[in-house]
């Protein structure tokens, strides 16, 4: 049995988001003045509008008040949003993904404490604070070596009466500038623990990350004698349920690959439309072999990438498909990541080339698509590292799990 039908609900939500992006997002996100500006503040109003469509709480269960979307549906939505604005797509994808994760890990008391406010506030986002300044996360030098990487966290949480006292600093935290609730990785007496810290907690400060080398809204978070109630632990003390990161071992939801795909698709749609309009050489440029072959190459890369992304998404929704030998026991999300990141940069560059000189002009979106695709390729883990990680998995190499110091 092999079935690629989308459900009526999936088709409907795709159309809804596509329409929202075309009508509301693109005219704002791709306005020449915004494209030209170096600083592109997050489009907060559109983000709130998207929340009202249910996209912020997309993956929360219906019982908890969300849309109960699976990973594949989330990926479809993220691709559509990224066609208009990768920043909006990234913020919503992160919140939606963490929303479902938190719901699953929270006991009833925590759900009652946090979820109503999360559901009721269109500007309530979620963040996972893991990475620390100076921490080494690259696999490179540690490939196939037993060297223990990223042991523990310098951010610590110490129990004092009915409170946890957190001290430390985090960086490159997705959604930090807009999050109202953080899940924080910290060393505790028993190992690594995860603590839930609301933004307005005294002692927590967050600020936007310097530079532009990310999609969405990234920030640094500092904790200075930040006190949270003792029942703020997510999971068990010393045994963080997020120790492997939210998409552990390259088998998670490929939502950021879906975002990457959206960037490539935007470039493709722009190039295809322009190739029908622009006349050089006595005919529309789409009628020239050189441009036609370029567009075909773009479409091929997009379709292959989408197949890889959807397959990884479906696999993360159906882990039993690996057990029953329908799917290979491989980190399909990591595979989709490498292919998509490399292919979408080629897609964006080829699409931009169809525009001639206008392909590098900052008041046009093509140069942004190239830069956006490049950010996907060279941020986070990086393609070279992802390949090394994949190679370790193929070889059956087992790295010691992260533990506390």
């Amino acid at each position: 049995m092999f079935n690629l039908h989308l459900s009526p609900e999936q088709l409907e939500i795709r159309d809804t988001v596509r329409d929202f992006v075309a009508r509301e997002v693109k005219p704002v996100a791709l306005a020449p003045a915004r494209l030209e500006a170096f600083e592109k503040p997050l489009l907060a109003e559109l983000l709130a509008q998207a929340s009202r469509l249910g996209l912020r709480t997309l993956a929360l269960s219906e019982a908890a008040g969300g849309a109960g979307a699976d990973n594949l549906t989330c990926c479809i939505v993220t691709e559509e949003l990224a066609v208009g604005d990768p920043d909006i797509a990234a913020v919503l994808a992160q919140t939606a993904m963490l929303g479902r994760l938190f719901e699953r890990l929270m006991p009833l008391a925590q759900r009652n404490r946090f979820l109503p406010e999360f559901l009721g506030d269109d500007r309530y986002h979620l963040a996972f604070a893991e990475r620390e300044p100076g921490s080494e996360t690259a696999l490179g030098a540690h490939y196939h070596r037993p060297a223990v990487m990223g042991l523990g966290f310098r951010t610590s949480a110490v129990r004092a009466g009915d409170k946890w006292i957190i001290n430390g600093a985090k960086e490159c935290v997705a959604n930090a500038p807009v999050a109202k609730l953080f899940a924080v990785q910290a060393s505790t007496a028993g190992g690594v623990s995860t603590l839930l810290v609301p933004r307005d907690t005294a002692g927590l400060s967050a600020r936007a990350q310097e530079g532009h080398w990310f999609h969405g809204s990234y920030g640094e978070v500092a904790f200075e004698n930040c006190r949270v109630p003792v029942d703020s632990l997510l999971g068990v003390e010393g045994r963080s349920p997020l120790a492997e990161g939210p998409d552990a071992k390259g088998r998670g939801s490929p939502q950021f690959q879906a975002l990457n795909l959206g960037i490539g698709r935007a470039a493709y749609e722009a190039a295809l439309a322009y190739a029908h309009l622009r006349v050089q050489g006595g005919r529309r440029i789409v009628e020239h072999q050189a441009i036609g072959a370029k567009l075909a190459g773009i479409a091929i890369r997009l379709e292959v990438a989408r197949a890889a992304v959807w397959r990884a998404a479906w696999a993360s929704d159906h882990p039993e498909a690996i057990a029953d030998r329908s799917l290979p026991d491989l980190p399909l999300q990591a595979i989709a990541r490498v292919y998509t990141a490399e292919a979408m940069l080629e897609v964006a560059k080829d699409a931009a080339e169809c525009f001639g000189a206008m392909g590098v002009m900052r008041d046009m979106p093509l140069q942004k698509y190239v830069q956006d695709a490049r950010v996907c390729l060279h941020s986070g883990e990086g393609s070279a590292d992802a390949k090394l990680r994949l190679a370790e998995i193929l070889a059956g190499y087992r790295r010691p799990a992260k533990t506390g110091t």
Binding site: T137, W213, Q280, G281, G282, K349, E353, M361
Partner: protein, 398 residues
Amino acid sequence: MDFSLNDEQREWQMKARKFAREEVRPISLQRDAIEDPRETFDWDIIRKGSKLGFRTLAVPKEWGGQGTDFVTQALVMTELAKADSAISKSFSQCWKWSHLIAASCSDEQKERFLRPFLADDTFVLGKGISEHSAGSDNRLPPADDPKAGLKLRAERRGDEWILNGEKAFIANGNIGKLFFIDARTDPNAPLKQGTTMFLVPRDTPGFRTGKVFNKSGWRFYQNGEMIFENARVPHANVVGEVNGAVRKSGGAGGDTTGGDLFGDLELAANALGICDDACEVALQHARSAKQGGKVLFEQQLIQLKLNRMHMLTEALRSFVMRIAWEHDRRIHSPNAGLAMNFSTDVVQEVAEIYMDVRGGAGCAMDAHADKLARDSIIWSHLAGDTVQRLKVAGRLRG
């Protein structure tokens, strides 16, 4: 075979290296980071370079220039581009049109225009060919569409020509003091038979500049709009014959589109500078940056990346220097175009690998790696990569 440089070539190379290191490099990232495209240009660096001879490098000695050969020009472009590709191009753009003046202008025109060019450190040159709806059509005029290509019109009125129309993306368009302008003088003839080249000084009545294009790469380098509304140009400023623009500079070894003899070498030599820059910094970084207590260089993947960057760069250097040598011997072949096409592939791959070496994990990117990647993309756009390749294929066909 002899690959050695003579003393004069070596001297210019060293002079350029010193100027690049001491004056150009320190301002490179600063100018790139200026948001307003009108503000990225810096007259100070042009003045300093001009005093050292880098603005007038290609003007023949008998007219008071430096009269360097093509090998020297390639060496200097590469050295300057190693410090900043866009600044290098701002200088070499003047050489490109110096060559055109030398090859195509009458002595009377040289007297009128070369003298002030040589005397003024802020006198830069430009050439207006492209228009908003005429880019590729000027480079590869379609046989079945004779009216395709530039539309800017020039009509004779007594001793003057009246120019009407607009040029777009013109290098130095907003800052130049003298321009070659290609205009349609016979609207019913195909481009090659109906175009005339005019010398248009900046203060020509009826001429004004429009917007400055805001590019993602080569931000220092100015590309502007030029607007002609009944602009009056004396007949004495016609370069060569009326309706002979393409043939005229074609006779000088190229065509009117900038993809001429020097233009191909120029882009390839400039790309080589970016590659040299990327290789040098990547190697330094691999030797000094540590991961897991060991320098990056110890990793096989880093070594393979450095190998590929250097392999491509040295192949490009061989090609560039061979073309320069051939030009000095007046050997004209499709090689120059092929070298330029090759440089597009090389500069983009080298810049991408460099970014990969500098990248690593996290949510930040080295500003220098980011700049080189954006600059390298320019090669696909300002000259029209596919069109250039087709054009070179045309030369191969003969």
